[in-house]
Structures are given as C-alpha cells and as structure tokens.
Symmetry: C2
Subunit: 177 residues, 2 copies
DNA sequence: GGATAATTGTTACATTATTACATTAGTTAT
DNA sequence: ATAACTAATGTAATAATGTAACAATTATCC
C-alpha cells in the first residue's frame, strides 16, 4: 500500500500500478475473510475491472468489459456486487459521475476524505485531512445536524494535466495493469 | 431574504415561507433582467414548483406536477429550464438525489456552501463558512489541483427531526406555500 | 413586415438503477 | 451422504434519469 504518492495526492502516471492492484486484492481477501463472505471469482473479476486504474468506471462499462472477457452478466448482478464492495469499503461511488472507483488507502473505515477528480486524465485521488472533519463537525454541531453520510467531491485538473495541455485533456497513458 | 433562520441553518417548520417565495421571485426577475433573458411563464411555473418548499425535487416530479396543473411538457423542456435556472444560481442540483432545490440565499455567485440534507423532513439547508473554503484551497494547492467544481453534501437529521421521532421520519408538515 | 435570435415543441433514444422471482452453489447438521 | 439451510447468481421485465436532432413557434430588432 502507498507506493507512488508523495503524500496522499495523485498517483504518478509511471507508478508501479501492479503493486496497487496486488495490495488491493490482498486487502479484499482480508476484508472478505473478516466478514465471513466469499470473494468469489465473479466478485473478484468485477473488482479487478475497477482496479485496472485510478479512474472511476460506470456500472455498464463493467458489463461491457465482462462481456468482452466472455462473461455476460445482468445489470443487477453488477450492482449487487458493487454494493457489496462499497459496503466493505473497497470501492467508492462518485456521485458526480455515477461511477465507481477503487479505494487504495488503508483505513477502509475512514469516511473522512475528499475525492479529487481530474477531468483531464480521469484519475481520482483521495485527500485525507483531519482539519476537514473538524470543520464539518463544528459547523454541523452548530446547526444541530446529525451527520450520517458525507459526499465531498471536487472536479478540476491535476498538476500534470494542468502543466501539459493548456486546458487539460491529456490523452491518458494506459497504466501497465 | 433571510427571515426564518437563526444563522444560516435550517428553516423552522412554521416560518413564513411566502416571504421566501416572494423574495426568490424578485431575485429571479433581477437576475433574468441582468442577463437579458426572459422569465417566461413556463420558466416561472417550473421555478415555482421548486420554490414550494425547501426540499429537493426531481425533474420528473416537476413534469408530474406540471401535468396536474394542466401543462404537459417533455423531459427535455424541464431539463433545459433546470439548466438555465442552475446556471443563474437560482437553484442547485443535489447529486445525492438527482434532484433540484431552490437557493434562498443572496449571493448567487457564491459556490462555497455545504448542502445539509435532512432525511427526516427532506429539507435542504445551506451552510456558508469561509473556513471550509480555506481548508479546501489549502489542501488543493498542496496537491497541485486546480478546482473547477465542488460538491459538498451531507445527509443526516436536522435538529427537529432528531428531537421528535427517535429515528427521524417525521412525516412532513406541508408548508403554507 | 421580414430578418434574426430566443424559446418551446416533437420524437426518439441513451444511460443508470431496481423489483420480483427462480435457480444454483456452498455449508451445516443429522 | 443427504436434507435443510443460507449465500450467491441468474432471468426477465421495468423504472428512473438524462440527451440528441430537428421542427415549430414566439419575441425582438430594424
Ligand atoms: Zn496505481
Ligand atoms: Zn489529470
Ligand atoms: Zn421558506
Ligand atoms: Zn428534518
């Protein structure tokens, strides 16, 4: 876990993504084992679609990829497994794109993160910072609000996309996955 | 503008919503005038659907209400007007619910707000606080990220919903709209 | 009043997500 | 082993949300 990032920002295009992937699979095995659920071949195959990159991917994109790999499944099947992976903290849902991306961080119970979405390369980075939680907690307490779910998403341009193409839209270097 | 709220939190169930509504329509006229666009009957009627409450309402709910009021329109028509109202800062989109709610605040250019969503009564409140912006700006600068769009939404229970029913789900008192 | 742009209509379709019920595959207890 | 039970996946249909392409209408300007 946690090769590639300077602190907790964007993964570099050239990082060793195979390590991201392996670490994530290991984590999944642990989490499934803890919850006494089975990481079935189908579940792993779907999880692996999401693990091919640091991008978010739609449910129907998963169906397409699965079909191309010879396994046709119905939407409901994908959604069921997406829900499960989501509940286990292995993936997150991007509300801004109706899409799902893998969480490569450790603390799978930690809901205090901000999703940064680069519209140039599609990469999602998660920022974790205690200050954010503190501010939110303070404001909500003042408003008498009891928080249950938090969605923090920011769309924009990552450093490399801003630096290269003037307006973003660097075509993406495919990861070595 | 800005009757009803202690600071900038939830409107009380008994507040004078007619004033919210009138202020909002006034604001709309100003904004439309400034942008040299016309607040047509259709646009106003759609805007008024959203202005009936502090709740978020789906695009197809608007279609239903319009039909019940004798005007049947196509989805695309609603979406066009929703986009326009959104661009003008009169309404906001709730990503967590694929729904739209009226912004009753003044500064229509201010994107620095948090949407609090009560799952009990459906009310949306917007919190504005400079600390949030500062934290986000600092974190994004550190990550080399150029922000273009920000979505901050929190779902939970407002004070009155928490206090009344043990677990929320107070059936909603219809506003006097 | 005809040119022009803004607004709304019409039709068809794309994308995302869920409901209800049936079947298959594992696990557990006799 | 097998019956009973639970977990996992399949099947079929449909709901909910959002867009594209092009036509018709309405307001505005000269
Ligand atoms: Zn990686
Ligand atoms: Zn990028
Ligand atoms: Zn009100
Ligand atoms: Zn409430």
């Amino acid at each position: 876990m946690c090769n590639k990032r300077s602190n907790n920002a964007f993964p570099t295009p050239g990082h060793n993504h195979k390590q991201c992937l392996n670490d994530a699979i290991d984590k999944a095995r642990k989490v499934f084992s803890l919850r006494k659920l089975r990481l079935t071949p189908l579940r792993e195959q779907i999880y692996r679609q999401i693990l091919t990159s640091h991008d978010a991917i739609g449910a129907y994109d998963i169906l397409d990829r699965m079909r191309r790999q010879g396994r046709e499944i119905a939407p409901i099947t994908a959604y069921r497994i997406l829900d499960l992976l989501h509940d286990m903290g292995l993936i997150h849902r991007l509300e801004l794109q109706n899409a799902y991306y893998a969480c490569y961080r450790d603390h799978e119970d930690d809901k205090n993160f901000i999703a940064l979405i680069c519209r140039g390369c599609g990469t999602i980075a998660e920022l974790v910072d205690r200050k954010v939680s503190r501010v939110f907690e303070a404001l909500e307490k003042e408003a008498g609000f009891t928080e249950e779910k938090r969605v923090l998403e920011v769309q924009g341009l990552c450093r490399s996309c801003r630096d290269s193409r003037k307006g973003g839209n660097s075509e993406k270097e495919p990861l070595n996955a």
